[in-house]
């Protein structure tokens, strides 16, 4: 208890609180700008943290990251430019809601859902951190392979526009993911001698092109596309009622997010896709998904933020960072004499509690900042669509340029944007393509690694207990689906036979 009181004094002083506020505002801006990511926000902050005391330094990273990721939903909702791979899972719903005049509700669900998910993650972590870390450490390439395959299957099976088109979209994404240097042997693939393609097709320009540019092309010529917004005075009106209606989704999303999020490298990106599919599968109105329905948004949004909190666990307990952001944070922790490891919880518990408190404060800060952002954001809809499109196009170009500071990113964005425009016209969903690009390398790498370990024995994929469970689950999902569609194909004939 002493440690907790000490932690309170470490956090509740003017310096730390000011740092948290400033970093949060900074994160909000970076996250809300399309193409600029939480990773970028964190990397930019690192030189500043050299001059800070340990706790404010960590606080700066945590506050800016949490805020940037939540703010990444803003351009997704308003302009159909998702900020993170995870928010691409539900961007279709949040954007369509905004187009129906419910931008405030969509942003509110995002913000308040995030706060609740984040706080849930916090409570969850307080009790389970060491056990959760141990659980995550048991995962090898075998388990990751099945997890990624399961994620891909979800996307294909629930895709709007049918399984065949969803599957084709997914394959296109996997093909795009193949471009670049083979991750294990270094052999160039599909690069056609273009040196810039050896780095692969970056995910951010692809996402900006396929979602935002395609939308600009679709709406480009219409000068007046009025989208009157409801609840202008109080953008968050009705949010709590909506969250209460879908409380089951909120809780399930948070729990699954906390579990999957703890898996280094896979968790954060994958979790929201899994729960979005789950929400659609169990929904009473699955046909509304992808057309501006809040149910999937509630569940996947909660997942997103719960996963964000738990992704810190393997990094803090075992020094295994799951993504660039936590990797940078681990660097800052070490530099400030708080080396990751189990001793972080035992020898200096006040530091650990202080870090946790910063999470809580950053999450609560999201409410007022998110509210202000939502109120000002609605003005976007007062701009004629054609003019807005010009600005979006500019953001698309800047965002895709900024990833590697090359025009090549812009070329990728333009090419994939045009492809996505025609695909959407023919009823193909875009989300599975994005998931293919994100998960393709994971499936491939973990499969190759596993095959090298087992000397090419495919049955080795079922030898480890967790891996076997995941593998059987994946096969079961597909068998049920195939069985179901075979039954559907044959039933009408039987009926026809009976009537004869």
């Amino acid at each position: 208890m002493n440690a907790f009181v000490e932690a309170l004094s470490l956090v509740f002083n003017l310096e730390t609180l000011l740092v948290i506020l400033a970093s949060a505002i900074f994160g909000l801006f970076v996250g809300a700008l399309p193409g600029l990511t939480a990773t970028m926000a964190t990397a930019l902050l690192v030189p500043l943290t050299f001059y800070m005391a340990p706790i404010p330094a960590i606080a700066a990273i945590i506050a800016s990251t949490a805020m940037a990721i939540t703010a990444g939903d803003l351009p997704g909702t308003l302009l159909r430019i998702p900020g993170t791979p995870a928010s691409a899972a539900y961007v279709e719903d949040s954007y369509r809601m905004a187009q129906k005049g419910q931008a405030g509700l969509a942003i509110g669900i995002g913000v308040i859902g995030s706060v609740l998910g984040g706080l849930f993650g916090f409570v969850f972590l307080m009790f389970t951190a060491p056990a959760l870390a141990k659980f995550a450490l048991g995962f090898s390439s075998f388990e990751y392979f099945w997890l990624a395959v399961l994620g891909l299957s979800c996307a294909a099976l629930i895709s709007s526009g049918g399984v065949a088109k969803g599957g084709l979209s997914l394959l296109l994404g996997l093909l795009i993911a193949q471009v670049g240097v083979d991750p294990l042997t270094g052999t160039p693939r599909f690069t056609f001698g273009v040196s810039e393609l050896t780095g692969g097709i970056s995910f951010i320009p692809a996402m900006i092109g396929m979602f935002a540019l395609a939308e600009v092309m679709r709406t480009g010529r219409r000068f007046r596309l009025g989208v009157p917004q409801a609840n202008v005075r109080n953008p968050f009106k009705g949010v709590l009622a909506c969250l209460w209606k879908y409380r089951k989704n909120q809780i399930r999303g948070s729990v699954i997010g906390s579990l999957i999020g703890a898996l280094p490298g896979v968790g954060g990106d994958l979790a929201a896709w899994v729960t979005y599919s789950l929400a659609k599968k169990t929904s009473k109105t699955p046909e509304l998904f992808g057309k501006g329905h809040p149910e999937g948004l509630v569940e996947a949004g909660a997942t997103n933020n719960a996963a964000l909190s738990s992704s810190w666990i393997p990094a803090m307990v075992f020094g295994i960072p799951g993504d660039a952001v936590t990797a940078i944070a681990v660097g800052v922790l070490v530099m400030k004499g708080m080396e990751p490891g189990p001793q972080l919880l035992t020898s200096n518990p006040q530091n650990f509690y202080a870090v946790m408190l910063v999470f809580v404060i950053a999450n609560i800060l999201m409410l007022p900042l998110g509210y202000i952002a939502a109120r000002s954001a609605r003005r976007i809809f007062e701009v004629p669509r054609a003019l807005l499109n010009a600005a979006i196009l500019l953001f698309c170009i800047v965002g895709s340029y900024s990833i590697n500071n090359t025009m090549f990113g812009v070329t990728i964005m333009l090419a994939l944007g045009v492809i996505a425009f025609f695909l959407e016209k023919s009823g193909f969903a875009i989300a599975p393509i994005i998931l293919g690009i994100v998960l393709g390398p994971l499936v491939e790498q973990n499969f190759t690694t596993s095959m090298i370990i087992t000397n090419g024995n495919v049955l080795g994929l079922f030898e480890r207990p967790i891996s076997a469970v995941l593998g059987i689950a994946t096969i079961a999902v597909w068998s049920l689906f195939i069985f179901g569609s075979v039954k559907k194909t044959f039933r009408p004939k039987e009926i026809a036979g009976e009537t004869l």
Binding site: F318, G331, G341
Partner: protein, 322 residues
């Protein structure tokens, strides 16, 4: 515009231009290319160097993470820049290997070496419950059959892979029989080790420290010739096996080939101040990175030696990119 106005403008322009030529380097912002992603060790050390250099040179330094192709993209980018001192870059271990492995023609001779600031030997790790209790157990096992030991530590042909091959080679075992599981990075390999999918991991110490502290894995030996004062219980391989070991990771600052000598001298002397400063030492110490300084010609000689040592190990093992 009258003739006189034109002449006056021309005169101004000439003065401005000649002034530019005479002014001392640097007089505008410098770009620092980092060939690895934001958040890694190269990025972190590159950023602190940029911050400290900025203070001393009095010009802003913009950092560009040009990633991909196992560092090839970033190194290639640096090579093709104008050698005027306004684009410099972090160059890393991989540069000692590209040519021998055949993944790229890039070598240290494509760059003007400015200074070496870090070198870290890797270490050998096993699971806490591994049958290899000491480094001697492992050495015996390697001598018996290296193909029976599943080892990992980042990519095929990477620094840790070469170190493992070099070790097997120096112990007199058949290095072409090595069982290497390539991964995306040392932390992934450590996760494979902790989840009991492989038998041995080769990694630099800082990346593995938390897992060691947690009692999940154990270090057996350093792949270097000196004991690390911070880990006095971990023997260097030279002591344990009686071999000289020259394969280790390094990081330095370089510029495109053909950098004017005065600019090179200015950068090298400023970088030396930075690398030997207490601030830098504290930072590197905090991250468990070893600090070492070798400027200009010394750095070039060091790179030449690495080129040969890495080349020998790579050649014997027959590692080739297609």
């Amino acid at each position: 515009m009258s003739f006189f106005k034109k002449a006056a403008l021309a005169a101004c322009a000439i003065v401005a231009l000649s002034g530019q030529a005479l002014a001392e380097y640097p007089e505008r912002a410098i770009t620092l290319i980092i060939p690895w992603a934001a958040g890694g060790g190269t990025d972190a050390s590159g950023r602190i160097i940029a911050t400290l250099l900025e203070e001393k040179l009095g010009q802003p330094i913009t950092i560009v993470n040009r990633t991909g192709g196992g560092g090839i993209v970033g190194h290639q980018e640096l090579k093709t820049q104008t050698p005027d001192g306004y684009t410099i870059g972090v160059i890393t271990t991989e540069l000692s290997m590209y040519k021998s492995v055949g993944s790229s023609d890039l070598t240290y001779t494509d760059f003007t070496p400015i200074g070496l600031y870090n070198a870290d030997p890797s270490a050998i790790f096993v699971r806490a419950d591994s049958p290899y209790k000491t480094i001697d157990d492992l050495i015996a096992a390697i001598k018996k059959d290296p193909s029976a030991i599943k080892a990992s530590g980042a990519n095929f042909g990477g620094n840790n892979h070469i170190a493992w091959i070099s070790l097997v080679q120096l112990l007199g075992a058949p290095a072409d029989k090595v069982f290497w599981v390539p991964t995306d990075g040392a932390t992934v390999s450590l996760q494979l080790l902790a989840s009991n999918a492989i038998g041995v991991a080769i990694s630099q110490f800082p990346e593995a420290k938390a897992l060691v502290d947690a009692g999940e894995i154990r270090p057996l030996a350093y792949l270097g010739n000196e004991r690390n004062p911070k880990q006095p219980d971990v023997p260097p391989i030279s002591e344990a096996a009686g071999i000289e070991f020259a394969v280790s990771g390094w990081r330095g600052i370089g510029a495109p080939k053909g950098l004017p000598e005065d600019v090179q001298k200015k950068l090298a002397s400023t970088l030396e101040e930075v690398v030997t400063s207490d601030q830098f030492k504290t930072f590197m110490d905090g991250r468990n990175f070893g600090v070492i300084w070798k400027g200009g010609a010394d750095f070039e000689a060091y790179l030449k030696q690495r080129d040969e040592a890495f080349g020998a190990a790579i050649k014997t093992a027959g590692i080739k990119a297609n």
